[in-house]
Amino acid sequence: MEMRFGKYGGQYVPEVLIPSLKELEKAYKEYKDDPEFKEELDYYLKNYAGRETPLYFAENLTKKIGGAKIYLKREDLLLGGAHKINNSIGQALLAKKMGKTRLIAETGAGEHGLSSAMVGALFKMKTRIYMGAIDVERQKLNVYKMKLHGAEVYPVESGSKTLKDAINEALRDWVETFEDTYYLIGSVVGPYPYPSIVRDFQSVIGKEAKKQILDIEGKLPECIVACVGGGSNSIGIFNEFKNYKEVKLIGVEAAGEGLDTEKHAAALLKGKEGILHGMLSYFLQDEDGQIRPTHSISAGLDYPGVGPEHAYLKDMGAVEYVGITDEEALNAFLELSKTEGIIPALESSHALAHAMKIAKEMDSDEIIIVNLSGRGDKDLDTVMNYVKF
């Protein structure tokens, strides 16, 4: 496990949290290769969450676009409707092993909050979800679901009232409650060891996808495309492929209303190095080092930073990062809904939109895998504002 990815990462937290992070590191090192722990994790991933997820050939879409074959890794079919559950089950099991009785989590789109609420119910742990007040408003359905599972949803009124502020508030909670409380971070962000832990739990996506594409096509894909908010679904699918030079990895950031406007959330493309939420990484910030408000049509990508491993992969040139606007994402959302009968999450629609762009330029014997990180039911309120029937 790595404290840093190149210079990125680290443990930039107030002193009071250092012992908790050391405790977490020790526990994770103890259990991560423990056969019993892995067996338990696999059991819940399969029987509770619904792994493995299919790798689906989107034939209609492929034909319509004309070019590379587009495959979808169907994380949208998991319980809760997104990849977030892979990580939540893993960390909640770890929390139990550590003797913790209470979970806290932050959420933006509500998908991680929901998956945390689900595992809280499953493992009988008291659960509190921190969620920006603006996100509580725009993700009502997920808020209601979290409450159904018995979680308390705490609307965060400070700062920009979105995901970054929910993380601040969860950290403030943890500073007081670390003795019995586990902080279940939802993406590959935060202080070490979180970026490594979340990546490991999400890596199941890439492991399955590799095996599946080899079974179906007998070769690796030319290209893998995934959206990048904090960066967990993308790291999750990239990780297994990062040593294959012939597989091109593309991370898609939210370009919002355009990369040359102020209204986007493209930390890697438009941010600069900084320190927030315990990590050295790329952040959208002003000339004085104040973190800037962000914008994306998808709440799950609406975060001013990105996981430190992505910062490193970008500097190394190992992954290409691109931006997709709100409008392009929305069009991809509509396209997949119509051509395949699958409603993708607006986050995942960013990846899909980019895949649709590049597929055209590729040969018909070439393959793109899109990580369909979630389903779009949660986004219908948003989409209805744009598209009327």
């Binding site: 680290g10 443990q11 930039y12 937290v13 107030p14 002193e15 009071v16 250092i18 012992p19 400070s158 700062g159 970054k164 502020d165 993380i167 601040n168 950290l171 403030r172 500073v175 007081e176 409650t177 670390f178 600069k272 190095e273 900084g274 320190i275 927030l276 939420h277 315990g278 952040f283 910030q285 000339e287 004085d288 080092g289 104040q290 973190i291």
Partner: protein, 254 residues
């Protein structure tokens, strides 16, 4: 040695001129002034200081203006000034440039809330180069080994966080805090100051009686600023608060 009162306010809350006025008022009874640089994401702070940060930033506060305030204050007073900040504004400006400007403006020390000792090698050598004192925080769950490390990395004083939580006014002092103070006092060669949650004379007195070399008070002042804004009344009330706390320190020193 005399026991110290460190008085914290947020630079630019609600504007730089007011901050200067408040610093002058506080310095009548304080031994050190601690100036916070407002930050968009102050995760170690409770609501009171969060709101102060927002007031300052909304009124256009900038890091460069913090140095202006210090420079201006130096025309009136020699009271040492310690700057408290999150790492990002410093990192963004460039550590070396930040320290140089801090020194040139007349600042004496620096606290970076989210910089752990492990990552402070370059920081320590640059602070030394520019003659800036380094103050690190220790918490009740900090191990003995780390406390020694924190003590070694600190100059001026070691800052004990008296509780598990964020900044903000608390009604009572816990026994945990007193035990922690006694334990830390034995391990440190630097003076040990206690902060977080202290707002009244009795709090100050109790920590001093139990061996603290100083107390740090913040939210109690910031609440006054929150209530009375940019006014003479605020300055007067801040001065009174500092006097009350200093009395507690003197009583505790007897």
């Amino acid at each position: 040695m005399d026991k110290k009162l460190v008085s914290f306010i947020v630079a630019g809350d609600p504007n730089p001129e007011a901050t200067l006025k408040f610093m002058k008022a506080l310095s009548k009874h304080s031994d050190i002034i601690e100036l916070g640089i407002p930050f968009s994401d102050p995760m170690a702070d409770g609501e009171t200081i969060q709101m102060a940060d927002i007031r300052a930033l909304n009124n256009g506060m900038k890091v460069s203006k913090v140095f202006d305030i210090i420079r201006e204050f130096r025309k009136y007073s020699n009271t040492p000034i310690v700057v408290m900040t999150y790492y990002n504004p410093v990192f963004n400006m460039g550590l070396e440039r930040f320290l140089k400007e801090l020194k040139e403006s007349g600042g004496n020390g620096l606290i970076v809330v989210d910089l752990p000792v492990e990552d402070s090698e370059e920081y320590l050598s640059l602070c030394k180069k520019y003659g800036i004192n380094t103050i690190f925080l220790a918490a009740p769950n900090t191990s003995e080994d780390r406390i020694k490390r924190i003590d070694n990395a600190s100059s001026m004083f070691v800052y004990l966080v008296s509780l598990y939580g964020t900044t903000g006014v608390r009604r009572e002092i816990s026994n945990l805090a007193i035990d922690f103070l006694k334990r830390t006092k034995k391990l440190c060669k630097n003076p040990v100051y206690v902060g977080f949650g202290i707002s009244e004379k009795e709090h100050a007195k109790r920590f001093i009686e139990n061996g603290a070399d100083g107390v740090v008070v913040g939210s109690a002042y910031v609440k006054i600023i929150e209530e009375y804004g940019d006014s003479e009344e605020t300055a007067k009330k801040l001065e009174e608060k500092a006097m009350e706390l200093k009395e507690g320190i003197l009583e505790g020193s007897k």
